[in-house]
């Protein structure tokens, strides 16, 4: 049984993944909040011995898909509002710029590809865990991962335009 306190321990990682996936601070915390509500209403369904992080990320993906359906406009754009995590703390200019490029390139990937890449590279989930979280076959995980890395590599090498067109809000 997962205690409330034990769920608190997962919050920083859930927030990291949600922010990376959506690219939007507020949408990410909304996603985390809805995931938590779902987790609390179903936590008796967490089988003993299963990995709570995998379970929480699975719930988050279901919520994420629901959010996307509910917000067709965001879906059309395929990205959040383009806000990147605050990396201003780093004054090394080149480093900051390189990370910005990476952020921009990441949101050029489809959400499906981005999710697999982030789960593997940032959340360090096994391929089997990713298949479970996304409810897709292992082969699909591998092909998405392969394509995500290829495309990210091309974008970062400047072989594709990384500029995300952002609307100017006045």
């Amino acid at each position: 049984m997962l205690s409330r306190e034990a769920i608190l321990d997962h919050l920083p990682r859930l927030r990291r993944y949600a922010r990376a996936l959506t690219g939007d601070r507020f949408a990410a915390d909304d996603l985390v909040q809805d995931t938590l509500e779902r987790a609390l209403s179903r936590w008796t369904l967490l089988r003993p011995g299963s990995n709570p992080q995998v379970w929480l990320l699975t719930l988050m993906h279901n919520v994420f898909i629901n959010h996307r359906r509910a917000d067709a406009r965001r879906l059309e754009r395929g990205t959040g509002d383009g806000e990147l995590p605050e990396i201003g703390v780093r004054a090394d200019q080149d480093d900051g710029l390189a990370l910005r490029d990476l952020g921009a390139a990441l949101y050029r990937l489809s959400e499906e590809h981005r999710a697999v890449l982030l789960l593997v590279a940032v959340e360090e989930m096994s391929y089997q865990q990713v298949a479970k979280i996304l409810d897709v076959p292992l082969g699909t995980v591998m092909s998405r991962l392969t394509r995500a890395r290829q495309r990210l590599g091309r974008l970062l090498a400047g072989e594709e335009d990384t500029l995300v067109k952002l609307e100017v809000v006045k």
Binding site: R15, R16, E86, A121, M142, R149
Partner: protein
């Protein structure tokens, strides 16, 4: 030799191969620089993604999220959260009753963030640090520049702990540095360093406990240090003492 499948290259980059498979891929890569560059590129992507998103782990969790989790059981937590003290299920607030404003400030700006950062990064398997110990010179130089004060990584080898590396973290009002160490049994301790801790009188070691994480902290001149670990208090004390002494020694050079 047959070229490994594309998927094996990815599994290699992600540490998902058995030892035999790993050796097979490694042998191939040693003889095929183009494939090796490909794999290195993916690993570099992973490192960069961590650099981009890991700072989120050290952010204070918004109160609405902790409130959602704790529900009605969490009244005490909620008060603490509203004061901005709470994250990660850790309640330093209880320790604040009856202490002066300087100490409270040290707890808030040094000890609490140190414990959060410890809990956030110690479980990271592949990327526990931003810059590894093999680049210690660069690491120390970089962190000193970013913190605006000379930062040194104490040598804890005599006490059985090897430096893994460090990272830069956003802190309360100023950036902070975290060094991570590991012993032969895989236990990890972290040293959190920041400048501008208010309590300049406080040079003695002090102890704080946040959930499972024990913290010894001290202030030396402008810099505050907090050594965190899930170790018995006495053992952590010995390490804190070793860190303090080695910093003094390095500083004297």
């Amino acid at each position: 030799m047959i070229r490994p499948a594309e998927e094996d290259f990815h599994a290699y980059a992600d540490g998902a191969l058995t030892e035999i498979e790993r050796q097979h891929v490694e042998t191939w890569l040693a003889a095929h620089p183009e494939d090796a560059a490909l794999v290195k590129g993916w690993r570099d992507q992973g490192v960069a993604l961590h650099r981009l998103f890991d700072p989120i782990l050290a952010e204070a969790v918004p109160e609405r999220l902790t409130r959602t989790v704790m529900g009605d059981e969490g009244k005490g937590w909620r008060v603490a959260a509203a004061l901005g003290w709470l994250s990660l299920g850790v309640l330093v607030g209880y320790g604040l009753r009856g202490v002066g404003p300087d100490r409270a400030s040290t707890l808030a700006t040094l000890v609490h963030p140190a414990a959060i950062a410890h809990a956030a990064f110690v479980p990271e398997v592949r990327h526990p640090v931003e810059v590894g110990a093999e680049q210690e010179g660069h690491l120390v130089q970089w962190l000193s520049k970013r913190l605006g004060t000379p930062v040194l990584a104490p040598n804890l080898k005599p006490a059985g702990f090897q430096l893994l590396g460090g990272r830069l973290l956003p802190g309360e009002g100023a950036p902070a540095a975290q060094f991570m160490y590991q012993d032969g049994a895989g236990r990890r301790v972290t040293l959190y360093v920041r400048k501008g801790v208010a309590d300049s009188k406080e040079t003695a070691f002090r102890f704080a406990q946040e959930k499972n994480v024990s913290v010894f902290y001290w202030v030396d001149g402008q810099a505050g240090y907090a050594l965190s670990g899930e170790l018995p208090r006495q053992e952590l004390m010995v390490l804190a003492d070793a860190a303090y002494r080695d910093l003094e020694r390095q500083d004297a050079k």
